[in-house]
Each structure stands twice: as structure tokens, then as C-alpha cells.
Symmetry: C2
Subunit: 409 residues, 2 copies
């Protein structure tokens, strides 16, 4: 397929939030995010789509089919980013969907089912420490109290941010998607890993989406003067944290044969002065996999090790489970259909798990949903260096086009 | 000695920068620090002392002796604090000196030598990552370029902060103390450790002051998605940091028989998001002792370990030595004089090293200087819980009074 239009769309939207040498920052519901969402709406309206926003700010853009009573074929992703993120994570799925609809118009392809683009709000957890907000709302897996409890670094709650942007968080339940309204959902995304690239495969057909278990561990030792407090009298919260960080990694490695991974993403030290033995440390840990038992083995090993380390070092601790989700298996029939389309297009493909969470995992709980990967260079993502080869953009656009057409016909 | 006056002075000054449950924060050259320094000046002027400030903002308050041509007896400490610090670190030495001078006036004690209180500027390194600024200036161990290169978290340099407070950093050399102008310097301080308390001893007479070697280690791995990047493909800067933090502790413990200690005071993680494998980490390390060879063994072991860990993990690193000072031996004659005064007052005493750095270590390089410790509860310091028993305040005030009188007579 001709890929120029997709590239123009990506170039246009990725001006928003871009800074030289810093990549793209469009945090959920930020000024930049909102400007990019306005651009998406303009693109959709230019095509002639009917656009609306739901109570939590998901954007819906609908192209009617020949039979308006049939359930719609949904396609979409998100356009918010992590801090200093890249051009493709989420954004590709939205821009490719718009381009597919553009081509359906242009080629005057007849389809019975309506086609609906959905741009999910707040997919990234970077701002509010909660991911895939928009698709959670569709799946009825969100509450007003949850919107109020998740706050950003400035203390602004997700609830207040939604209000501020003119949405209606109190009418959350009106965003729930009745299953009979949609036939299927398809999301195109970059792999964010290097499996496809290493194995030189065109398309990844996701069989299951890993779910994160997220922990916050607080360690309370005793602040002391770094010069005057003898080594044997110390209750150093950072040294305890170091043992736990290594345990997270070790247990992730142990379970990697089950495709489980474990990460300590942040370590905050208080008071954090050069001349003070750290008195308090917070660790933020993310355990993911598609095998729940394997994930729980990592979780339990990290908890056990934390207890052991803290006992040995006379450190107090609390462990808070911030989220604990289950891996989601995707629809085998839809996967089969995507495979057929790959074969028709002459693309190589592979069934694979998704280590990252995606909106698809929430939608898959209510309707059949497919997640399609294309390779990204070096597996690099959540990073300004995120890159995709031209041929892979082309392949992604083609497989999305074929899949939407085959579902909507 | 009657201790009420000292307590009143401590209460008064420690209102400044105090917040309930947070302790006292008077960062060097902050608004709070400046207000506290104004209060010191008022206290001195109320006694009738002649007050001046030098080019870097050290406060000098002079009581003439009967022979104005004799060199002065200097006494003092500092009143800036670490973030969320306590009531006594530094502040005790200044308030006790003022109280001693008050009693010398009150008892109309005749002394030949002038007595000069000096309140050193920016003793704590918390704000500008450089300690004992005021006394370094007196010892001629500071340069304008150094003042410009040390910046706080907001990018304000020590140089600019001095200018902003109305001092004259460009005239730094005018602050140098000509050795012939002063006979001796005495500083009273809390121990900031628990040796005196554990051994039930009244007074610590410091024989040597430990010097810090300070390092910043930068570790550069590769940011990656915490779900999609397999364990075996990771270059996790935080896991590498954890190994180094444990090595700092281990090597500090190994050398603790030589009274060396080693601390990682802070660990900054970038980007620090829950769903990103950390790409970059900064560690801030402080190695202290009174045995330079022992300190260097820790330094070299930490450097070797960093190299090994980074090689194994394919992590790039830089090690910057922020400061490297030598331990300072104090004047034996002065120590002997303090001991005599202890015996006269019926106080138990002990020769000991100081693990923490103090202004005394800079002054000791140009004139005879003494550092006198009293116990603090639980050895806790650099902390809002810093506490001193009443009898120890009394003992501290008495020994300082006796020592100043015996030197100034």
C-alpha cells in the first residue's frame, strides 16, 4: 500500500509535544495531548466521519456501512505518550486507522458494517499511575472513586483533569460499550520489543497480553550522619533497597522462560543528601507476564526477600499492591482471520505474547479483539529513539486495511 | 553553670525554619538562614559586641580584651542546617559561645586577649554540594571559580547566592584569616554519633577530623519498555546501581576497624517511570575516615567494582570525584588544656575522632584549633529528632566557658 499519507499524518501529529533532542511528550490530558486530539478530530471530520467524545474523552469517529443496524467494526489506539516518548507507540494505530478509512473512501469500497475509529484517552500510566483509562471505561472496569484517587505529580486527580478538559467523569457509566454494538476491535501497534526484528518476521499476531502486577515498597530505616554513624549502627534504607532491586531482577530472570519480566522502575531516596545515611526509600516495581502463576512466583519471592532483608537490617517496610491484573487471552478466530490476511498479502507472521499492556486487553473482555504488531528498530520504545522501517509501516497499513475490510464486508 | 540562658537562645533561633513534624530547615544562604543570622547579630549587639560580616558572609562579633594588640581567641560554629535538621548541630556551638560571652560580661571577667565569635557561612553541603564554605574561605582554600561551579537544585550558584545576599564573593581573598591575628579557635558541637552516650562519658576531645571523599557515579544503560523488553536483553542502570550501593556498604564495613565509613546518600533514577527499565542512574557516595590509606582502599574497591559491574552489564559509566580531602589532626597542646579544664570541672572525657567534617578542620590548618563534643541522644543528628540531655548542655557550656577563659586570660 502507498504509505505517504500515513507518514504525512504521523509527521503532522508528532509536531505536537515534540522538542529537539527530547522526543515527544504528550502526557494524558495535558495541553499537548488535547491539541493532538483536536488534530485527530479535524482529520476525521475532513474525511467526512461523524465524530463524538464520550464521558471520559474517548474520541469516536464513525463511517456508516450499508446496513446501519449491524454492529460496528472498531479500530483504534491512543495518542498520549510517556515523557520523552517516540513517534509510533499508540499514535501509529490511530493514524493508520484514519489512513485505512481514507482509502476505503477513496477506493469506494462497499462495507455492510459501520467502521468506528476509537482514540482511547490516557493509555499511558506516566501521568496518573493508571494505564488504559479510556478502554477500562468502555469495559466498565473503572469507578468515579478510582478517577478521584489517581493523582499526578502536582496532586491533580484524573477526575479533576477530565473535568478541566470538559468531560463528564460523573457520567462514567455512559461510556460503557454494550457488547451488541460492536462486532470486533482491531489495534495496530509497534512491538516495543525486538522479537520480530531478530527473527525477521513481518507481523506479530498477539495471542495474549501480559498484565502488570505493580508494587510500591516503602522502606523506613534511620537517618544518620554519614560521617559520624559507624557502619555497624546503621539502618540504611537504600542498602536494603539495593538488595530488593537485585532480587526483583533475579526473580524476573528465573521466570523468563515463562515470558515473565520484573522491573524496578524507580527508587526515591529521602532525605537524599550526600551526608545523610538514607532513612527512607520508595521502590516502584512492575511484574508482567502472560502466565499468572509465574507472575505470582515472582511477586511472592520479592515479598519474601523484602521481609528477610528488612528483618536482617532492622528496617520497617510496607508493601502496597498498586494494581494486579490478569493476563488476557485474545480471540482465536480473529487471530485466524489476521493470519489468512497475512498469507494473502505474502507477509510472514508469528503468534506472540505482548509484554506491554494495551487498550485491546480491556476491549477483549467484552468483544472479540485483535492486536497486530509490526517490528520497531532495536525493540526500542517509550523513548525518543523509537523508529520503524518504511516497509514495516507499509506492511502494518496493509494488514490493518485487509483486516478491517474483511471484518466490515 | 546555669543553662537557662542557653536554652532560651536555642529556643529563639530554632523557631526560624521550624515546621511541626518536619524539624528545622535553614539551608545555607536561604531566607531562613539569613533571618537566623540576623537574630545572631541582634543577640551579639545586645551584649555590646562589635559585629561585622566578611566578604563571604561569615559573621564576626568581637569583645575587646585589655590588650587590643594581642591575637584573639576565636569561638564559633554555624547555624545553617540540613533539610529537616535538628536543634543542635552547629547552632549549639554558636548559642553557647554567645552565652559564654554573656557570662564573661556579667561576671566582669578580665581577659587580655580579644574574644571573637565567628559564625561560619554554609557549613552544610546540602544545598550547594560543598561543605564548610565559610571556614574554607578563612583558610584560603576556596576560589571564585569554585563558588561559581557549585550550584543548588535550582541552578543557583553559590557565587550568585552570596551576591544575592549582599556579600562580595569577588573579594573572597579579603576573608582569609592572617594567622597572627588569632591565638586559637574552639568549637563546641554535638557528637552526632553514639560513642559518648554508650560509654557514658561527658566530653569528647577530638583528636582528628575525618575527611570525606565524595563521588558521583553516572550509569548509562538503555531505557526499554518494562513489559516488552525480555530480561536477557536489558541494560538496566538501576540494577547496576544496586550492585554498586551494596559494594559501597560492604567496603565501608570491611574498613570500619580503621574508623572508615562509606555511604550512598542518594540514587536518582531516569526516567523513573514504573513502566520503563531505568536508562540512567546517578549515585552520590561519601567515604570518610581519619586514616587516608583506609579511605583510599574503599575508594579503589568501589571504582573497581563499578568497572566490573558495568562491563558485565554493558553499562557506560563516569566517576567524578567531587571532593577529596585529607583527615586533619588537631592541636595536642589545646587538647591537653581542654583535658585539664575537664578535670577541674569534674567531667569525664575521652579522646576521639570526628567522623563528621566541621569548620574546625579548615581553621586547624592555620591556627591551633580544638573541637569539643557533648553526647547527643541515640547518636541521632541531621534529623528532626536530634536531642541533647540537659546535663550535657550544662557540661558543654561549662567546658566552653572554662576553655575560652583559660585561653583569653
Amino acid at each position: 500500500m502507498v504509505v505517504d499519507g500515513l507518514i504525512r499524518r504521523l509527521d503532522a501529529i508528532n509536531q505536537i509535544g515534540y522538542k529537539e533532542n527530547e522526543g515527544i511528550t504528550r502526557l494524558a490530558l495535558s495541553e499537548e495531548d488535547e491539541r493532538a486530539r483536536d488534530m485527530v478530530i479535524r482529520m476525521c471530520e475532513d474525511l467526512g466521519l461523524k465524530v463524538r467524545k464520550d464521558a471520559v474523552g474517548n474520541i469516536w469517529a464513525r463511517k456508516e456501512g450499508t446496513d446501519p443496524n449491524l454492529p460496528s467494526v472498531m479500530v483504534g489506539s491512543h495518542i498520549d505518550t510517556v515523557p520523552n516518548g517516540g513517534r509510533y507507540d499508540g499514535t501509529l494505530g490511530v493514524m493508520a486507522a484514519i489512513e485505512v478509512i481514507h482509502w476505503i473512501y477513496k477506493k469506494e469500497i462497499c462495507h455492510r458494517h459501520p467502521i468506528e475509529l476509537v482514540v482511547f484517552v490516557a493509555e499511558e500510566s506516566s501521568r496518573f499511575n493508571i494505564a488504559t483509562v479510556g478502554s477500562k471505561a468502555l469495559a466498565g472496569n473503572l469507578s468515579v472513586s478510582k478517577l478521584k484517587s489517581h493523582k499526578d505529580a502536582n496532586g491533580i486527580s484524573l477526575y479533576d483533569a477530565l473535568l478541566q478538559r470538559g468531560y463528564e467523569p460523573d457520567r462514567l457509566e455512559t461510556a460503557i460499550l454494550p457488547p451488541e454494538k460492536a462486532k470486533a476491535f482491531v489495534e495496530l501497534h509497534i512491538e516495543q520489543g525486538s522479537v520480530l526484528e531478530k527473527e525477521n518476521i513481518d507481523i506479530g499476531i498477539v495471542e495474549a497480553i501480559a498484565a502488570p502486577i505493580r508494587l510500591q515498597i516503602q522502606l523506613i530505616g534511620q537517618e544518620a550522619h554519614s560521617g559520624a554513624c559507624p557502619m555497624e549502627d546503621r539502618r540504611d534504607a537504600l542498602s536494603a533497597a539495593a538488595e530488593i532491586i537485585l532480587s526483583v531482577e533475579e526473580n524476573g530472570r528465573k521466570e523468563s522462560k515463562h515470558k515473565t519480566v520484573a522491573t524496578t522502575g524507580n527508587c526515591k531516596v529521602f532525605p537524599g543528601a550526600m551526608n545523610v545515611v538514607p532513612g527512607e526509600v520508595y521502590l516502584y516495581i512492575d511484574i508482567r507476564g502472560i502466565d499468572l502463576q509465574s507472575m505470582l512466583r515472582v511477586l511472592n519471592a520479592v515479598i519474601d526477600h523484602t521481609e528477610k532483608v528488612c528483618k536482617k537490617r532492622d528496617i520497617q517496610y510496607t508493601i502496597e499492591v498498586l494494581s494486579q491484573e490478569r493476563p488476557v487471552l485474545l480471540d482465536r478466530d480473529l487471530m485466524e482471520q489476521v493470519k489468512q490476511n497475512c498469507r494473502r498479502l505474502g507477509l510472514t507472521y508469528k503468534e506472540m505474547p505482548s509484554g506491554a499492556g494495551h487498550d485491546t486487553m480491556n476491549i477483549a473482555k467484552i468483544i472479540p479483539a485483535a492486536l497486530i504488531f509490526i517490528p520497531c528498530v532495536g525493540g526500542i520504545s517509550h523513548n525518543k529513539k523509537e523508529e520503524v522501517h518504511l516497509k514495516d509501516l507499509e506492511n502494518g497499513l496493509s494488514i490493518l486495511f485487509e483486516t478491517i475490510i474483511s471484518l466490515a464486508k
